[in-house]
């Protein structure tokens, strides 16, 4: 079959200036600069600040993963704890029971997460769940995993796993002396990979397809796009990446239990940075994590040792969630596109 419509086509030269994609090029440059600066920070940060920074990086990795599926893909997940938890538990289980390297666990955890996420999303999409119903279904699946872990002997039920301490530093086992900058640089490198991956994906054929599907599913299908396939691909990438945050968590805190891995608060932790920073933007999850990371640390300190006028908060659980909720309301009211999204739109030419 010849292509009948090309005959009258105006020839456009490959170097036509209108085809230049300056904003993507700028994003890559900004990424390199930001990552280079971030990599140098431990040299000037105190140990206490570095703990907060690692926590912030874990938030950012989760949110970058969540953003792929929920921001660019338009499938709002309220159950990303499932994938964080799979990463954390895969690492803990393989390490404790089989002495497996966390690097291997990352690959295994990512594969299991991708498979689990694809399965959940397939069921949801097959039965045409969208919006709040899709979100609730993902939430329900995460709760199922939580209950399953709490009732499985080989995952030690509610007891959780302690990571055994090694006598010496080991890159292979991702264990270093306390305060080592490697605990910061490893998640930073993963985050960098995720951000570069996000930009590359968003600008790829499948990335364009999934955004088209998000904007108008019927129109996308009528242009020949296999809606289910591209959505499942996006879900798989999202879940796989979020699971890496779980591996880092287990390695950094040396302990993981069902609530830390699969609790609904973990799902909230994946959502809040992205929403605060800006859903469906490259930088949004990072900007949001820079707010939520330090904030969560501050709340934890207040609860542990409240100042005199706040002493009624001593030992109160759930304050962090209350503060997030207040923050979310403020953001949604005044910056519906998130901090980064709103600023970008204001300064865009």
């Amino acid at each position: 079959m010849t292509a009948p419509t090309t005959e009258r086509t105006v020839e456009v030269r490959a170097d036509d200036p209108r085809l230049k994609d300056r904003s993507t090029a700028r994003t890559y440059v900004a990424l390199v600069v930001v990552l280079a600066v971030a990599a140098a920070l431990p040299l000037v940060m105190g140990e206490q600040t570095e703990t907060v920074a690692v926590r912030t990086l874990i938030f950012a990795i989760m949110a970058v993963g969540w953003n792929l599926m929920s921001g660019y893909g338009g499938m709002f997940s309220f159950g990303h704890a499932a994938f964080f938890g799979i990463g954390a538990y895969t690492d803990a289980y393989l390490l404790v029971e089989h002495g497996t390297s966390p690097w291997i666990s990352m690959i295994v955890g990512a594969a299991i997460s991708a498979a689990a996420g694809t399965f959940i999303a397939f069921l949801c999409l097959r039965y045409r769940l969208a919006g709040a119903y899709f979100a609730l279904a993902t939430f329900a699946f995460a709760q199922v995993y939580l209950l399953a872990v709490q009732n499985l002997d080989f995952l030690r039920r509610t007891e959780g796993f302690n990571v055994p301490l090694l006598p010496e530093n080991s890159w292979w086992m991702m264990q270093f002396e306390q305060g080592s900058h490697n605990y910061y640089w490893i998640p930073l490198a993963i985050l960098g990979l995720g951000l570069v991956g996000t930009v590359a994906f968003v600008n790829s054929r499948q990335g364009q397809y999934v955004q088209a599907v998000r904007d108008d599913q019927v129109a996308a299908a009528s242009l020949g796009i296999n809606v289910m396939r591209v959505r499942l691909l996006t879900v798989a990438l999202s879940c796989a990446f979020t699971s890496l945050a779980g591996v880092i968590y287990t390695q950094y805190y040396f302990f993981v239990g069902p609530e830390q891995a699969f609790g609904s608060a973990v799902s909230v932790n994946a959502i809040v940075p992205a929403v605060i920073g800006g859903i469906g933007t490259v930088w949004g999850p990072v900007v949001g994590a820079l707010v939520v990371g330090p904030l969560s640390e501050w709340i934890a300190n207040v609860l542990r040792d409240p100042p005199a006028f706040l002493d009624f908060l001593q030992g109160v659980a759930g304050l962090d969630v209350a503060v997030y909720a207040a923050l979310l309301i403020i953001i949604v009211l005044f910056m519906p596109k998130g901090i980064y999204g709103t600023l970008r739109d204001r300064f865009r030419p």
């Binding site: 419509t5 005959e7 086509t9 009528s222 020949g224």
Partner: protein
């Protein structure tokens, strides 16, 4: 054999038969106009042909293949592409990227897809809006965008659902000219439209639908003179 053969195509929604055993044979490179009062089943017919909804009975054969029950994506990939009466742009994307979504069908690389998309945009003369967010386009621009995305797939058959609706006469003329070009380039067109001047200027055959059925089919001049067509759709004033 005809390029597109529709046999006994029927669609019933709870008690209402929107399309009732329609038979059509569309020849390769034909321009077939389709008219009829609102609710006659024209848009439903397009949705059946393009796979958006499944027929209750009957079948659709395109280029020798039975495509009944195929998904919209598969039908579009096979070369049968529709546009929507209510425009459906991908609002977060620029005009260029909207069209590139369609040209990506042939090109893996973003660069090649955008290059090809730009050619299609030049062709439908949306050149002034290349980088504009598609949500900001005026109606005439959105109509051209619908057309551009469909053309970008290099279809063999185009199903055009009221591409002129909502346009003032000055905006219609260039689109009519464009449709003539597209047809001259060898694309088979099914053209649902209420603007009779355009229908008469372009159609080689004319199908009139009423209450889900074929009321008349044939030479446009003869069809519009048919008293049943005048009564059902055109009204006494049309001559």
């Amino acid at each position: 054999m005809s390029l597109l053969v529709v046999e006994g195509l029927t669609k019933s929604f709870a008690g209402l038969t929107a399309v009732s055993s329609v038979d059509i044979a569309v020849e390769d490179q034909e321009f077939l106009g389709i008219i009829g009062p609102n609710g006659a089943g024209k848009t439903t017919l397009f949705s059946l042909l393009s796979g958006q909804i499944a027929p209750t009975a009957g079948r659709v054969v395109f280029d020798g293949r039975d495509i009944t029950g195929w998904s919209p994506a598969k039908v579009a990939s096979a070369g049968l592409v529709r546009t929507f009466q209510l425009m459906r742009p991908f609002e977060s994307m620029s005009v260029l990227d909207n069209v590139a979504v369609a040209t990506h069908h042939r090109h893996r690389s973003r660069r090649a897809a955008r290059l090809h998309a730009l050619e299609v945009i030049e062709r439908v003369r949306l050149t002034d809006y290349v980088h504009a967010p598609s949500g900001n386009l005026p109606t005439a621009g959105l109509k051209r965008l619908e057309l551009a995305r469909a053309l970008a797939l290099e279809p063999r058959v185009l199903l055009l659902d009221e591409v002129l609706a909502g346009l003032v006469p000055a905006e219609r003329a260039p689109i009519i000219e464009l449709l003539r070009e597209i047809h001259a380039d060898g694309v088979t067109v099914l053209f649902v439209e209420h603007i009779m001047a355009a229908v008469m200027a372009l159609s080689q055959r004319l199908l009139v639908m009423a209450e889900g059925k074929e009321l008349a089919l044939g030479d446009p001049q003869e069809v519009v003179a048919d008293p049943r067509v005048v009564e059902a759709y055109l009204g006494e004033d049309y001559t």
